[in-house]
C-alpha cells in the first residue's frame, strides 16, 4: 500500500498558487488584480455565471456537431453566399454596362435587345419563374386548411 503525503495529494489552493512560478511574477500579480477587480461585480451579481453557461453551451454544440449537421449548415452557407455573390455580381456588371452608354437606350432599343439577346431573354424568364414560384407559395398560404 502506497503512503502519500496528504498535503501533496490534496494541495490547498494557497499551496498550489505558491507552486506556480508565473504567479510569483509582479506583473502577473498586478494583471490578475486588475482582472479580479473587473470580474468582481460580475461575480457578485452572478452575471459571470451566464458567460460560463455560454461557454458550456458552445462546448455542447461542438460535441453534438456531427458530419450530417455540418454538411447541412455548410450547404446553407454556400447557397447563401453563392446566391448573394451572384446577385451582387449581376448588379455591378449590369450597372457598369449601363453607365458605359452616354445615353440610355430608347424603349424600342430595350425591347429589341430582349429580342436579339438570348441571355437577356433567359434572364427575363428567370424573373418570370421567380414570380411564378412566389405566386405558388402565396397560393399555398391562402388555401383553406381542413381541421384534423
Amino acid at each position: 500500500m502506497s503512503t502519500q503525503n496528504p498535503e501533496v495529494s490534496n494541495p490547498t489552493l494557497e499551496r498550489l498558487l505558491e507552486c506556480l512560478p508565473a504567479l510569483k511574477d509582479e506583473a502577473t500579480q498586478a494583471g490578475a488584480a486588475d482582472l479580479l477587480e473587473k470580474l468582481a461585480p460580475l461575480l457578485q451579481g452572478r452575471r459571470l455565471h451566464n458567460i460560463v453557461d455560454l461557454l458550456a453551451a458552445t462546448s455542447d454544440v461542438i460535441e453534438m456537431t456531427d458530419d450530417a449537421m455540418l454538411q447541412k449548415v455548410m450547404s446553407l452557407y454556400e447557397e447563401s453566399i453563392g446566391g448573394i455573390w451572384m446577385l451582387t455580381n449581376a448588379l455591378r456588371y449590369a450597372s457598369a454596362q449601363s453607365a458605359a452608354n452616354p445615353t440610355p437606350p430608347t424603349l424600342w432599343q430595350s425591347v429589341k435587345k430582349f429580342n436579339q439577346n438570348e441571355d437577356a431573354r433567359r434572364g427575363l424568364d428567370v424573373v418570370a419563374n421567380i414570380l411564378a414560384e412566389l405566386g405558388r407559395q402565396a397560393a399555398i398560404k391562402g388555401q383553406d386548411m381542413p381541421e384534423d
Binding site: 456537431t65 455540418l70 454538411q71 453566399i81 455580381n89 449581376a90
Partner: protein, 396 residues
C-alpha cells in the same frame, strides 16, 4: 490601349487570382482599359484536396466540383481551351484549338500532374489519392481488405528542395487509414507501415519534410500501432511479387501500396524550354519574392508550377495570389512590382477522421505542431464543405 491579362489554369490558384484581379483592377476594367481572361482545359472546377476523402468513401464526385464559369466574376472571360505552347518571348499563347492569344501580363497556374509511370511497376501495383479515379480505386481496396500489410511511401521530385504535392497529405491519410480500419473492425489483422525517403527537401532520414513535425510523429504513430520507417526511397515495384524496392536496397512486401507518386509540370510548361528543373519535371524558375518568371517581367507563376521550396497546395496559392495581383497592378500603374511573397502557407491538417490541426509556416519559420482538436476537425470539415468555394471566388 486595353491591357490583356491572361490567367492559365482553372484550379484554385487560377480561379481566385482571376477573381482577385477583377477586384484589384476594377477601375481599369470598368473603364475598358483592362480585361481578364481565364483559360482552362476543363469546364469543371474540382476541389482537389477532397480526392483524399474519396479514398475513404467520404465525398462524392458531385460534391467536390462546380462549373468553372459559375465561380468566376462576370468581368472574367472564360475560355475553354488548352495551351499547347507558351511563347514567353513573344508574349503569346498557342492553343489546342488553333487560336492564339497575345497578352500584356500572364499568370501561369497550371498545377502538376501525378506521374506514377515514372517509377517502374508503380502504375500496375501502386495506388494513390491525388486524382479522382485512383482515389475511388483505393477506396475499393481499403474498404474490402480483411488482413495483410498496407505500405505507405512518399516520392519527392528530384529537383532539389522542391516538395511533393500537399506535404502533409501522406501523414493525414495514414492517420485516417488507421481510424478507418478500426471502425471496420479489421485493424488488428492489418499492419500499416508509414515510410519516408532519405532525402526530403532539406532534411535527411526523417519522417516528415520539416524537423519539428517529424520529431513528434514517432510517438503519434507508436500510440496507434503504426509502424514507421525512415530512408525508404521507392526505386521500383515488382507487381508479381507485390514487393516495393528502395534506392537504399531494401525490399518490402505489401498487399496495398499507397505511394505519393512522382509529379511533373503540364506538357505545355515542360515544352516551353524555360524550366531548369532536372529529371524533366518542368518547374518554372520563379522569383521567390515577386513570383515573376525569371527573365520575364510580365509573367507570374504560382501554385504547383513554381520551383520554390513551398508546399504544392491551395494554402500556398491563397497567399501568392494577392502578391501577384498587387504586382500586376503595380507594373500597370507605377511601372514596378510592389509586393513580396514571404512564403506563407496555411492549412488545417486532418489528423484523423474527426480531429484537425491548424498550421502555418513561411520561408523563415517551420510549422509548430500543436495537439489536434475536435474544433480543428470541424474547421477543416467546414472548409471542405463550404468555405473552399468562397476562397475560389476570392471572397475569403
Amino acid at each position: 490601349m486595353i491591357k490583356t491579362i491572361i490567367v492559365v489554369g482553372g484550379g484554385v490558384g487560377g480561379t481566385m487570382t482571376a477573381n482577385n484581379l477583377v477586384s484589384k483592377l476594377y477601375p481599369e476594367i470598368s473603364r475598358g482599359k483592362a480585361r481578364i481572361i481565364l483559360i482552362s482545359n476543363s469546364p469543371w472546377h474540382y476541389y482537389k484536396p477532397a480526392f483524399m476523402y474519396v479514398a475513404f468513401g467520404a465525398f462524392y464526385k458531385e460534391e467536390l466540383r462546380r462549373h468553372q464559369a459559375s465561380l468566376l466574376r462576370p468581368e472574367v472571360d472564360f475560355i475553354l481551351d488548352q495551351v499547347d505552347d507558351f511563347e514567353f518571348k513573344k508574349s503569346r499563347l498557342k492553343m489546342r484549338s488553333g487560336d492564339t492569344y497575345e497578352y500584356d501580363y500572364l499568370v501561369v497556374s497550371t498545377g502538376c500532374i501525378p506521374s506514377p509511370e515514372r517509377i517502374e511497376g508503380l502504375v500496375e501495383a501502386g495506388d494513390h489519392f491525388y486524382q479522382h479515379e485512383p482515389a475511388r480505386k483505393l477506396y475499393e481496396k481499403i474498404s474490402t481488405i480483411e488482413k495483410g500489410r498496407i505500405f505507405i511511401g512518399v516520392t519527392f521530385p528530384k529537383t532539389p528542395n522542391v516538395p511533393h504535392q500537399c506535404g502533409i497529405a501522406p501523414m493525414e491519410t495514414t492517420l485516417m487509414l488507421d481510424e478507418f480500419l478500426r471502425k471496420r473492425g479489421v485493424r488488428d489483422q492489418i499492419e500499416i507501415v508509414y515510410t519516408y525517403p532519405t532525402i526530403s527537401q532539406l532534411v535527411r532520414n526523417c519522417l516528415f519534410l520539416q524537423k519539428d513535425t517529424g520529431a513528434v510523429l514517432p510517438s503519434i504513430f507508436d500510440s496507434k500501432g503504426i509502424v514507421h520507417k525512415r530512408s525508404f526511397t521507392l526505386a521500383s515495384v515488382d507487381p508479381e511479387r507485390k514487393v516495393a524496392i528502395s534506392e537504399e536496397g531494401d525490399e518490402e512486401d505489401f498487399d496495398i501500396l499507397i505511394q505519393t507518386p512522382p509529379i511533373r509540370a503540364v506538357d505545355a510548361v515542360l515544352n516551353s524550354g524555360v524550366s531548369q528543373a532536372i529529371n524533366n519535371e518542368g518547374w518554372l524558375p520563379t522569383d521567390r519574392y515577386s513570383l515573376q518568371l525569371e527573365g520575364f517581367e510580365n509573367v507570374f507563376v504560382m501554385g504547383d508550377t513554381v520551383d520554390l521550396p513551398i508546399s504544392k497546395a491551395g494554402g500556398s496559392c491563397h497567399n501568392q495570389s494577392p502578391v501577384i495581383c498587387n504586382n500586376i497592378a503595380g507594373l500597370m500603374r507605377w511601372g514596378k512590382t510592389v509586393a513580396e511573397y514571404d512564403g506563407k502557407v496555411q492549412a488545417i491538417a486532418q489528423m484523423g477522421m474527426d480531429v484537425g490541426m491548424p498550421l502555418w509556416y513561411d520561408y523563415e519559420v517551420d510549422v509548430i505542431p500543436t495537439p489536434p482538436t475536435k474544433i480543428g476537425g470541424l474547421m477543416r470539415k467546414s472548409f471542405n464543405r463550404g468555405v473552399y468555394w468562397s476562397v475560389a471566388r476570392g471572397l475569403v
